[in-house]
């Protein structure tokens, strides 16, 4: 009886120690997911790729943002290709779906607005949500400013996107007025 009474607390203590050891060992092997330190985009992409493969894929958004910031420090047209290749690599490794990769690329580096994706006609779907659509477009335009203008030096592309935004705003205003006038 006595020996059992002594053994029981010992077992509890041993169990707790074992759990603590397991937890601490897990903590020591978890990825640190630090931001790329290099100011060179290619090198930074390499670092990001390693980190993403080592379990940091949940931080993809942050890595993409870090890479954009690094690219802003050395803007040039070739950066577009670097980002495209990085995103294609991400889909190859199963970190992103094709659709996600397209979204990441086009929001920043294409003139067209991903905010205008939709399968229903304008009268039935776009017009009732016109304000939200325009708000999303405005936000995307600032991403294009970053990707096209600040990262890729694609002034013409950014100007066209800005013009497209204004045209969509005007045409939607007229179209939605016409739709709502329907009796």
């Amino acid at each position: 009886m006595n020996s059992n009474a002594i053994k029981k607390p010992l077992l509890i203590v041993a169990g707790l120690i074992a759990i603590a050891v397991v937890i601490s060992s897990c903590a020591s092997t978890a990825p640190t997911c630090v931001a790329p330190q290099s100011k060179n985009l290619s090198a930074a992409i390499g670092t990001a790729q390693s980190s993403l493969l080592e379990g940091c894929h949940a931080h993809f958004d942050r890595y993409y943002d870090d890479l954009l910031t690094i690219a802003e420090g050395d803007p040039k047209p070739e950066n577009k290709r670097e980002f495209s290749q990085f995103l294609v690599w991400s889909t190859d490794k199963g970190l992103l779906s094709n659709r996600q990769a397209e979204d990441y690329y086009n929001r920043f580096f294409n003139v067209k607005f991903m905010s205008l994706k939709g399968d229903y006609n304008n009268c039935s779907h776009t017009c009732p949500n016109k304000q939200k659509v325009l708000f999303d477009m405005e936000r995307e335009l600032s991403e294009k400013e970053r990707g096209l203008l600040k990262v890729s030096l694609d002034n013409e592309g950014y100007y066209r996107a800005d013009q497209l935004y204004q045209e969509v705003e005007l045409v939607l205003e007229a179209t939605c007025t016409a739709c709502s006038a329907s009796r």
């Binding site: 495209s84 294409n110 067209k112 205008l116 939709g118 229903y120 013009q163 005007l170 939607l172 016409a178």
Partner: protein
């Protein structure tokens, strides 16, 4: 802008619309935003507007001369002088002529503007509203040259208010002149712009017709006393600035940011 003065906006709008009609006929767009009914409505509205414009220009020219004579005769502050009173009555009579021309022409104008508006409305609703998704609309607007450099001759968006008439006319003309080979993307913007202008114009005509009745009554009363009211001078000034232009009212058109870089790269991810 003065309500009575603003009535002249439709005049130029419709003249511009007539030009647009000719151009769009030549373009033969694949989206039917300017069917023959719209073109005919625009032509008719243009004729009505031109008649009104011509009549108003003649009256305004006369008013100009009379006002000049009034000032040269140092009638400001000498309203009791019989000669000045006679001049003031003549100015008032010309002012009444101006209001009468507007009153006579406005119902026709209202009718044709509404026809044009309704035709464009139908086209926009069917072609852009019901047949297109937001993505196809975007592709129509951007055309096939999404990644090409924007040329300097590309049409630019125009504001729909606060612009003097001659400037608006000039901008529409430029738009029409440079959008010849551009296809649907320019037409969609053009149709939208004209439609929204017509909406605004239609409301303005309604309000102006109400205002003219009041202004005519007031001026008929003033005729008995030979008074030039500040309102009259303001209205005539507004009409003149719209017809003959105002340098301060020039519209600003944004230019592209500096620099031009050849964009050869096309990502496989690009949509």
């Amino acid at each position: 802008m003065n309500t009575t003065a603003r009535i002249l906006i439709p005049v130029l709008l419709v003249s511009v619309a007539t030009l647009t009609a000719h151009t769009t006929l030549a373009n033969t767009p694949t989206i039917r935003l300017f069917p023959t009914t719209v073109v005919e409505d625009l032509r008719q509205t243009g004729n009505v507007a031109r008649d009104m414009e011509t009549g108003l220009q003649e009256v305004i020219g006369r008013l100009d001369q009379q006002q000049e004579l009034y000032h040269e005769s140092k009638c400001d502050g000498a309203e009791d002088d019989s000669g000045c009173q006679r001049l003031a009555r003549q100015i008032g009579a010309s002012y009444l002529d101006m209001l009468t021309i507007m009153e006579e022409r406005l119902p026709d104008m209202e009718h044709t503007v509404n026809n044009t508006r309704l035709s464009l409305e139908k086209g926009l609703r069917n072609e852009l509203g019901r047949k297109m998704t937001p993505w196809t609309l975007q592709e129509t607007l951007i055309g096939s040259d999404a990644n090409k450099a924007v040329t300097k001759s590309s049409p630019t968006l125009r504001g729909r208010s606060g612009m003097r008439l001659s400037e608006r006319f000039n901008q529409y003309y430029q738009l029409v002149a440079t959008s010849g080979g551009k296809g649907d993307q320019s037409l969609a913007v053009l149709a939208s712009d004209i439609y929204l202008d017509m909406e605004e114009t239609s409301l303005l005509i309604q309000r102006t017709r109400q205002e003219i009745a009041r202004a005519t009554l007031m001026e008929q009363l003033n005729q008995s006393f030979g008074i030039i009211t500040p309102e009259m001078i303001e209205v005539v000034g507004g009409v003149k600035s719209i017809l003959f232009g105002d340098e301060q009212g020039q519209a600003l058109v944004a230019g592209p940011p500096p620099g031009s870089i050849e964009q050869a790269y096309r990502s496989p991810l690009e949509q």
